[in-house]
């Protein structure tokens, strides 16, 4: 975590959402809103948190800065270094790993020319490895920004990165022919039931 020169302040939208989160909790328990508010601030600050933000939020919620920092460092979705426009978070936990997350990671590294934890020179991509994204059924999974990209292969991964780079529209979710997490192809169980329904 390092300082940044500009003074941080909630934008009017951030302030409005922050108030909404605080209002969810009983009076005096505003500290409970620390996680969503950290997230809001991170979004406002191009994806990362600074010491200034930590102290700003501490002040906003009436907490000790240390307590805000504890939360911000405990959860891995808060970043403490600048990140690229697209934060590519490759899941490396067992189900994804068994389904080839290593290949996905290598494809990213090779295509972007960076290592884990690094950002491309153009500031577009940061590459990270994360633990289970909770979408194992569609492994291997990569989270980019607020979206999950699933059922990836090295090829579809590179295609995705290219589209992002060129600012083209991308489709979140499975990158193969599958509806959400339904079986690939057609139903393999409860076929009678499925048949009746459709």
């Amino acid at each position: 975590m390092s300082g940044n020169a500009e003074k941080f302040e909630f934008s009017s939208e951030t302030a409005a959402s922050a108030e909404m989160h605080v209002a969810k909790y009983p009076a005096g328990k505003q500290q409970s809103a620390v996680m969503p508010i950290l997230d809001l601030a991170q979004r406002q600050n191009s994806g990362w948190l600074t010491q200034e933000i930590i102290e700003y939020i501490a002040d906003y919620l009436g907490m000790a800065p240390m307590k805000v920092l504890e939360v911000a460092t405990f959860y891995t979705m808060y970043n403490h270094k600048p990140v690229g426009k697209h934060h590519v978070q490759v899941c490396g936990t067992t189900p994804c790993w068994l389904r080839g997350s290593d290949d996905i990671m290598n494809a990213c590294k090779k295509h972007l020319g960076i290592e884990k934890g690094e950002t491309t020179a153009d500031g577009l991509f940061t590459l990270s490895e994360v633990e289970c994204a909770g979408a194992c059924v569609n492994a291997p999974v990569v989270a980019i920004g607020d979206d999950y990209f699933e059922d990836l292969s090295p090829e579809s991964m590179i295609e995705l990165l290219n589209k992002l780079k060129n600012g083209e529209a991308v489709q979140a979710g499975p990158q193969i022919d599958r509806q959400t997490s339904a079986p690939i192809g057609k139903a393999t169980s409860l076929t009678d039931f499925v048949g009746k329904e459709t």
Binding site: Q51, A64, P65, M66, K67, L69, E70, T73, F74
Partner: protein
Amino acid sequence: MPTLTIDGKEITVDNGLTVLQACEEAGAEIPRFCYHERLSIAGNCRMCLVEMERAPKPIASCAMPVGDGMVITTNSETVKKAREGVMEFLLINHPLDCPICDQGGECDLQDQAVAFGRGSDRFEEGKRAVAEKNMGPLVKTEMTRCIHCLRCVRFAEEVAGVDELGALWRGENTQITTYLGQILDSEMSGNVIDLCPVGALTSRPYAFTARSWELKKTESIDVMDALGSNIRIDTRGKAVMRILPRLNDDVNEEWISDKTRYACDGLSKARLDQPYVKLDGKLTPANWAEAFNAVADALKGANGSDVAAITGDMADMESMFALKGLLASMSSDRIDCRQDGAALDASCRAGYVMNSGIAGIDEADYILLVGSNPRSEAPVLNSRILAAVKGRGVTVANIGSAEDLTYRTDELGDDASILDKILSGKHATAKALKDAAKPMIIVGQGALARTDGGAILKAARDIADKYCMADGWNGFNVLHTAASRVGGLDLGLTTDGGADGIMDDAAAGKLKAVFLLGADEIDTSALKDTFTVYIGSHGDEGVRHADVILPAAAYSEKSATYVNTEGRVQHSEKAVFAPGEAREDWTILRALSDVMGHRLPYDSLEALREQMAIVAPSSAQLDQKPDEAWGDFGTKGKITSGGIAPAIDNFYATNPIARVSNTMADCIAARETEVEGATGTNG
């Protein structure tokens, strides 16, 4: 009250206990790391696992409340295996560097690994290493040893009242650190060393100087403030190596302040270790006979109030009693124990002690501070107030300068004349006091040392009389800053005009001689032309104009009586001998009285104490908080408006021992650099 079965034995325990506490009552030892009686429950080390009937897996006994009919097993194979497993996990990342660790020999991890561990581990991968953290000049860190019990973090927040310590990151990357690596800015910080169950937090000044088993341990009483904290003095040979707290629930629970713990290096510095006599304007080493003769010569024919004495803040009761006796033999009773000129009244004991008791804070429901900053005057007591505020939402109102006391206070301003308004019922505080069931008013020396101190004392007394009395409850309290003060008042050591009067008379040439018994908190320039005898342990302000110096024992070097701010009489024990020629104060005075031709009528400590008990009967009542009869005290008068100055301006330099302590100097310096650093980089 629930009844449960522990290891086949039925036991009925209080409601609200945890299974761990119940097991202890039943005599079953439960290993633990994160659990601590005086901190909140965290349940994060899992060392306290026990089996509970019908539970599918072992439970953390420290975090499980007792229930009626529970069947607990603490000695089964499952529990043994659970403990071994937890132990093995805890040791995975622990460096096992006991031979170079200061905690060795008094380490919970070491002891419990021996008692409950497997004896070997199966971990072959690399261990983690964590960089040292800066926690200031007192606490040395070796964070690779940390087992993340979070006792230190909970202590900082709950007892010390500072939120700067925390656990960053998670899992095996967890690191305990202060916010931005600042020092731990608390007067209580040293206690984390005792709390840390491993060698992650150890004492920096004591680092690598001794092993616990080589030390002689003497149970004694602290004199750095007026609390009378129970301490253990650990010595090796002639040296005091360290000071640790002892348990006393009514006084210091199990904490001591950083000054109590760390000023001890001052015990071996700037010591007066031989008598001195002024010859041709220069203090010259002398032997005892020469020194005594010099005093006797100078005092020849001295009579009545020609001779006066001032006793210091760390003087023990025996020495003050002997000095009083010596003066009495010259028909003088001009001896004063109030260096700061506090308008304390010795005539009524309830008027100068903490009547509610230190532990009374645990029951109080409203606290009014008058000219007292408990954080710097008695940090351990301040922690009790913090607990009352945090735990029970007690309101603390403050008349005096607004300081950060670590808890929220209602600042009423520093104008003492508010007291008049409260007394007449015109101030909102009057109502708050009236509405409280057990209100406390705590009057500090800052308020009493003003010229209108007597009127403030009277007003505070009247407020207490009107609002703070209940059945079995006296809410009037004086918080002293000097360990000697209550003892001195018990001996009646007050004079008209006080210490200032003595100084004025000395400056005006009206006095033949002045005795200073460890009195260093006064400006002695007035004594330039008066024959001055200094009896004490350190070369500080008191020796500046001394004509004879009689070297005496420091608090660690004598068995003596101290009376704390609540009137509790306690005996300290001699841990080491005084250096060089220095002797215990009362024996010096006894020997001097002999030379002067009126021998004091005792020649043993016991005999002295017997006689002292005639003058001050309370001095024979050991270790109890007395219930004093209420009375009238203070002097009616006008309270001038105007600010109350704090009694202490630097917590780390309140007495001659602390002033020569390197560690205390480091504490002061660390705070100064931090302040400079902050303006330099954060601006």
